[in-house]
């Protein structure tokens, strides 16, 4: 039986074979199974795209036409901590153009078992959030006479994010070595060293100290614990996928950011390809439109084919085109023609646009097939007879 399946592995995709294996009745004769498999192969081949089908153009039309109906609205999350996400057409443009910095970077952090049930979820979330000194200090007081800065710390806030005085003091010390630190009640007093006792310096330090990093992951500006189904997860504004995945309470198999480039650098180009498909599909579904996912797969494939992400722009995918004429027909034609003439580029007229320009049959559909046999050129003796 298994030998029979093995024989069909080249003819059918693995998933289809596994599906058949699963659905098969326990007792089945080899002959019947073969009959089934033959039937499946036939149906499978019927569903394959015909050679010469212009899949790219059909994809472009299939994504482009619903795109005209899309609204330009950005939707809002209702809730205590409201988060704004780019959605709709701007988001699709952002993804397909291959923008390096996206408008609303976001991470969806899935958690490991005890935490995913809601254990310490708030504390966990706040520990991820990048916290700076001025967020836990309620007042900065400058004492000019003694060249001191007094920081009144908000203890409630401090407790909620789980830091204590020694941690804060350590953090300040790390970036301002020459400051003398002392604690008095709920305040931390900083004293400038004798050398830098100028008034000017005092205010400079006061401004700088606000930005001192206390804890959390750099780049994550906002956190929002939410419940999705029966599971708790943390949504963050701002991304730092690499650092997030290093945390031990994070489910590394499902946690994902919405920045395609970040995914490509952390998880690789295959993951980025899938991310493009998922992100675009999410938007299209959100708008209540219906686009076959295979069109998006094709787009994602062309964007990732070179190993790095190329946007569908004249600097990305279009630049990779082999034909000079095809590149020139899409934005900045003179630049392309000049550069091509400098290196003596040859256009082999292998694609659609060039052939439309020259009024030749385009090599898709009926224009694709050619003769296999070579037509002999007119022999010399016949030529002379004319």
């Amino acid at each position: 039986m298994n030998r029979l399946f093995k024989k069909y592995e080249g003819k059918l995709p693995l998933k289809v074979i596994n599906d058949i294996k699963e659905k098969l009745p326990k007792k089945i004769s080899e002959a019947k199974l073969k009959k089934i498999l033959e039937e499946v192969v036939m149906e499978y081949n019927k569903m394959l795209v015909q050679p010469g089908e212009s899949v790219g153009l059909v994809s472009a039309e299939s994504i482009g036409e619903p795109g005209t109906q899309m609204t330009l609205n950005t939707f809002h999350f209702a809730g205590v901590a409201e988060m704004n996400i780019t959605m709709g057409l701007p988001r699709i443009i952002e993804i397909l153009d291959g923008k390096k910095t996206i408008e609303t970077p976001m991470t969806e952090i899935y958690l490991k078992k005890p935490y995913s049930q809601g254990k310490n979820i708030k504390k966990l979330a706040l520990s991820i959030k990048e916290t700076k000194l001025n967020e836990i200090v309620s007042e900065f007081m400058v004492n000019i006479a003694e060249s001191k800065i007094e920081l009144r710390v908000d203890e409630k806030r401090m407790e909620s994010i789980g830091v204590n005085y020694p941690v804060i003091q350590k953090c300040i010390k790390a970036s301002f070595k020459e400051l003398a630190l002392s604690k008095k009640g709920d305040s931390i007093i900083l004293k400038l060293s004798e050398k830098e006792k100028e008034l000017n310096q005092l205010f400079k330090v006061k401004e700088k100290i606000k930005e001192v990093y206390i804890q959390g992951i750099k780049g994550i500006t906002q956190v929002l614990p939410i419940k999705k189904g029966s599971e708790f997860l943390i949504i963050t504004a701002g991304t730092n996928l690499k650092k997030v995945l290093e945390l031990d309470f994070v489910d590394k198999t499902r946690t994902i950011s919405n920045n395609i480039f970040e995914i490509a650098s952390v998880l690789g180009i295959e993951a980025a390809r899938q991310a493009i498909i998922n992100e675009v599909f999410k938007v299209i579904q959100n708008q209540g439109l219906n686009v076959d996912i295979r069109h998006l797969m094709l787009v994602a494939d062309t964007m990732c084919a070179t190993g790095t992400i190329k946007g569908v722009t004249r600097y990305g995918v279009v630049k990779e085109k082999a034909s000079v004429l095809a590149r020139a027909s899409f934005e900045t034609p003179i630049k392309h023609i000049f550069n091509a003439s400098l290196i003596g580029e040859v256009d082999h007229l292998n694609s659609v646009v060039e052939n439309v320009m020259l009024n030749q049959p385009v090599p898709v559909g009926t224009g694709l097939p050619g003769l296999v046999t070579k037509v002999k050129r007119e022999p010399e003796w016949l030529k002379n007879k004319h």
């Binding site: 212009s54 003439s341 439309v356 020259l358 009024n359 030749q360 559909g365 009926t366 037509v375």
Partner: protein
């Protein structure tokens, strides 16, 4: 303290803005300051804007003081006796014009009943809130504003009688409606604006029902008998103009029948309608290509020697002929002088336009539609009393547009026609619908306007009662005869060898970028090539240098201008546009080398 701006320019400050602006208004009412001046006190920003420049939209309102309008019955009586004029009231400060800015400071009462001490102005009439054309829409307060303004836009395009002296006028693109009628359902503006002296539509019987699907999607079905009786019939006038221009060197154009040796001579048949003076006679029937005014011009480029050359053949034909698709009858010939003193000939051509499939008709409520079918009267549905509608309007045009005024006009028109009187449909001051219904009942009809009707083809009674009555309909200036266009072969552009563009030039209909994509998506590669064969060319290419070679057809010789005639030269088939691209690249000092390969 407020800043004061005069026509947008800062001119100073005042301590008390309210007192200041009141003072100006006071002065304007007393006649000390021109009544063109408007003041606007922007209380939020704290600025005062005084405007007296042109281009501001203004409207008249009655001035109110302490809750009492300044316009009293005495004024009305004097107005009726023609002792004073409207302008006198403006001079007295009883009525004043406010612009959009000053209206911001005013508190306008809609009617006399709602006046309080706070009001500053009172509407003369609710009608004064809307413009002239919009006030010609009857029962307008029953329809959405968007439809009312569409209705008023449509009226501007309606055919009518634009001037009484039209037979002796020369205007571009003129349409005259043959039997214009005064609308049965009117507003006071129809009288005030003299609309009734030159109306632009006809009162017809309209049934709201479907007719075999020929009135779907805003189409209307017309009764052939109504057309034969003159409904929607109009005449289209178009002038042709020729001037004997003078050129340097004492040369002039000459209006005459061109000699046969003139450059560009058409054919004898085209000149057959010209009289001795080279101008067509009145009431001549002309068609496409016929010359109306024969004219010759001196040669375009004169070399210095040509001045002494009296060869007659050098003159050029420049007659005025009817363009593609035009026809008509010569209505009027006028010979005058232009402002430069040149002889000027103007010929007006008239063409009768009988309503046909595709002509555009509209009621006054933004319910425009195109003729979808013209039906014999015998096949039209008829009422129990034998009335057939002139036009059938689709019921699907009503729910989404909510033009209730259209429906009310139908009843109002029916009542007006039956009781032979005009119905008042002035905005916010209409004859109430209930009264109309009661009157309709007393006239022996169903009060809701519906009637039992019979299928005109089978004679069967229609299951539904049909809403039928009279509506004022207008023919719009968009007629198929001026727009219809198709082409298989025709003229091409000199530069690109592609078909010309536009109806006037008998142009092609462009198969654009996205249309091209559909061919590619279907894989219809060879069909696509065929569609783009309009500028197909076969050119010889030198295999040595890859540039386009020369085919000397006289000597039947092929040679390359660079490599001579001792090279292999082959023909290729490309689009002429691509040949142009190659030429353009050459002008950019780029050598586009074509490398030829056997196709098979």
């Amino acid at each position: 303290m407020s800043e004061v701006y005069l026509n947008g320019k800062f001119i100073g400050t005042v301590e008390n803005p309210i007192e200041f602006s009141d003072k100006i208004r006071e002065g304007r009412r007393k006649g000390v300051i021109s009544n063109n001046v408007n003041v606007y006190n922007d209380k939020i920003v704290g600025n005062i804007h005084i405007n007296d420049d042109k281009g501001r939209l203004r409207r008249p309102l009655i001035v109110v003081k302490d809750g009492q309008p300044l316009l009293i019955d005495e004024h009305i009586r004097k107005l009726q006796k023609n002792e004073i004029l409207f302008s006198d009231l403006v001079k007295q400060g009883v009525i004043e014009y406010l612009d959009a800015a000053e209206e911001e400071n005013a508190f306008v009462a809609f009617s006399k009943g709602e006046l309080t001490n706070e009001h500053t102005h009172l509407e003369i009439a609710p009608l004064a809130m809307i413009g002239l054309c919009t006030s010609l829409v009857p029962y307008a307060n029953f329809s959405p504003g968007a439809r009312v303004s569409i209705g008023s836009k449509n009226q501007k395009q309606a055919l009518g009688m634009y001037a009484i002296n039209f037979p002796i006028r020369i205007d571009m693109d003129v349409n005259m409606l043959h039997y214009p009628q005064i609308p049965v359902v009117q507003s006071v503006m129809h009288d005030v604006s003299n609309y009734n002296k030159h109306p632009s539509g006809q009162n017809i019987i309209v049934a709201i029902m479907s007719y075999k699907g020929y009135n779907v999607d805003d189409a209307v079905v017309l009764n052939k008998a109504s057309i034969n009786l003159g409904f929607g019939r109009s005449t289209y006038y178009r002038p042709s103009i020729a001037e004997e221009l003078r050129y340097s060197g004492g040369l002039t154009d000459e209006i005459s029948i061109p000699d046969k040796d003139v450059k560009g001579y058409k054919s004898e048949k085209d000149y057959r309608l010209l009289e001795k003076d080279g101008i067509i006679f009145q009431e001549a029937k002309v068609g496409e290509g016929d010359v109306i005014i024969g004219k010759t011009s001196p040669p375009r480029f004169l070399s210095s020697m040509d001045q002494y050359n009296f060869a007659p053949s050098s003159r050029r034909e420049s007659s005025v002929a009817l363009k593609h698709g035009e026809e008509g009858i010569v209505d009027f010939v006028l010979i005058t002088e232009s402002s430069e003193g040149n002889r000027l000939v103007q010929v007006k051509i008239r063409d009768q336009r009988i309503p046909e499939l595709g002509d555009k008709f509209t009621s006054r409520h933004g319910q425009k539609g195109v003729v979808g079918l013209i039906v014999d009267q015998a096949d039209m549905p008829f009422t129990a009393s034998g009335i057939t509608p002139d036009l059938i309007f689709s019921p699907h045009g009503i729910p989404s547009r909510m033009t209730i005024s259209h429906l009310i006009e139908l009843i109002a028109g029916k009542v007006g026609a039956l009781s032979s009187r005009y119905i008042d449909g002035t905005l916010f001051d209409v004859e109430p619908e209930e009264m109309l219904r009661k009157e309709l009942l007393s006239l022996g009809f169903r009060e809701n306007g519906v009637e039992t009707m019979y299928n005109g083809i089978t004679g069967e009674q229609l299951e539904a009662k049909i809403y039928i009555g009279n509506i004022y309909y207008m023919k719009l200036k968009h007629m198929v005869a001026n727009k219809m266009h198709a082409r298989a072969r025709g003229p091409i552009q000199l530069l690109t060898r592609q078909p010309t563009e536009g109806r006037a030039k008998e142009g092609g209909l462009r198969l654009g970028e996205m249309e091209k994509d559909t061919f590619v998506a279907h894989g219809a590669s060879l069909l696509l090539k065929e569609r783009f064969d309009a500028d197909r060319t076969v050119v010889p290419v030198c295999e040595e240098c890859g540039m386009i070679a020369i085919h000397d057809k006289f000597k039947n010789k092929l040679y390359c201008p660079i490599c001579g005639d001792n090279v292999e030269i082959n023909f290729i088939e490309i689009s002429y546009a691509f040949k142009l691209l190659l030429d353009e690249l050459k002008s950019l000092t780029i050598h586009p080398k074509l490398v030829l390969k056997n196709k098979y």
